[in-house]
């Protein structure tokens, strides 16, 4: 199989988006992993969902026509700030109600 | 290869789902069954809009569908509570 240089640059830009999101997230003191048991916790951490949001927003911008490595870095930084300050109020935790 | 396979497109499938949903709404008795068949009818309706390529209308219909379903569910739950409460108060009246 032949892998073009274009594909390499695309994969490299996704990795750059994840790395910049992780660095800014560590700088903002977000938790790295959710607390255990991991599959039932609603904590917003670095690995999930910040990295997933970073590569998702990068893919949306690439399909809209803004290519380049710098775009990936900027999107990673902005996603970390968004996940730290705005995501909690945008998608609040469901409150448990068992009194009916 | 088979002639009847060409008949199956998004349009005919959506019309079939719409007809099945309408028959279910008319035939079934309980209100919750009617709501379930109404959710099925919404799927056929959105499919029919998409098959005519009105994509913006389809997005609006898909967003507004759960809102209408939830409003109907609230009405059904309230009505059921009121009817059960009425029956219970009548029984209490007879016994007391």
């Amino acid at each position: 199989m032949i892998i073009h240089a274009n594909v390499l640059i695309t994969i490299l830009s996704y990795i750059l988006a994840i790395i910049s999101a992780i660095i800014v997230g560590l700088f903002l003191r977000m938790p790295i992993l959710p607390e255990r048991p991991m599959r039932y916790s609603f904590t917003i951490s670095i690995v999930f969902p910040t990295s997933v949001l970073a590569i998702g927003f990068t893919a949306i911008l690439f399909k809209l026509g803004h290519n380049g490595l710098l775009v990936a870095v900027v999107v990673g930084v902005l996603t970390a700030i968004f996940a730290k300050y705005f995501l909690e109020s945008l998608l609040p935790k469901p409150q448990t109600e068992e009194s009916s | 290869m088979y002639p009847f396979l060409d008949l199956i497109t998004l349009t005919t499938v959506s019309v079939g789902v719409l007809l099945i949903g309408t028959a279910g709404i008319i035939l079934l008795k309980k209100p919750m069954d009617k709501v379930i068949m109404f959710a099925l009818l919404q799927g056929g309706f959105i499919g029919l809009i998409v098959s005519a390529k009105y994509l913006d209308v389809a997005v609006a219909a898909a967003v507004f569908d759960p809102i209408s379903t939830i409003i109907m569910l609230i009405a059904i739950t309230k009505l059921d509570e009121i009817r059960k409460k009425k029956i219970k108060s009548q029984e209490d009246g007879f016994f007391a």
């Binding site: 969902p49 893919a59 399909k63 | -």
Partner: protein, 167 residues
Amino acid sequence: MNEIIAIIIAAVLSWINFVLIDTWMGLPEQPGVKGAEVIGRSVKRRGGDLAGGFFQGNIVCSPDASAGTLLASAACYTIGTPEGGLIAAILVYFGNRLCADPGYAGTTGALSITCIIFAASYIGIGPADFIVGMVLAIVTIQGLYHPFSSRLLGKIAKKMGRHTKLP
């Protein structure tokens, strides 16, 4: 490659993908929302297994790895192979949070099926085959005969250590 064989291979791949990820993320263990418990109890009353019933109820009540698989392959078919899966992953995450679910299963399923589609495109299986294969896979779980499929899911859950502890 013949079209039927491609669809069957895609169905098997997506079945393994979503069942393993959903079981690993603890869907048979407890009902996440209250509607899932109703469906699980009903499946058990008709002669099935309780863990498999919770699995089916959780699939109905929130978009899990099955929805991630279907939507990521649909987005890969229409948008493009790596980018569509990532966009589908982020949209499935928002949909999961709207349904009061943590959202681990959906995004993991979407990202893993993107890798599988990217690898399978070299042997001639396109994303369109994965859409049809995923619908066939969900029909074998939800559409044919619920007691048998819930017992099969219960066996898989017991083997992976995720069987339910509720009575």
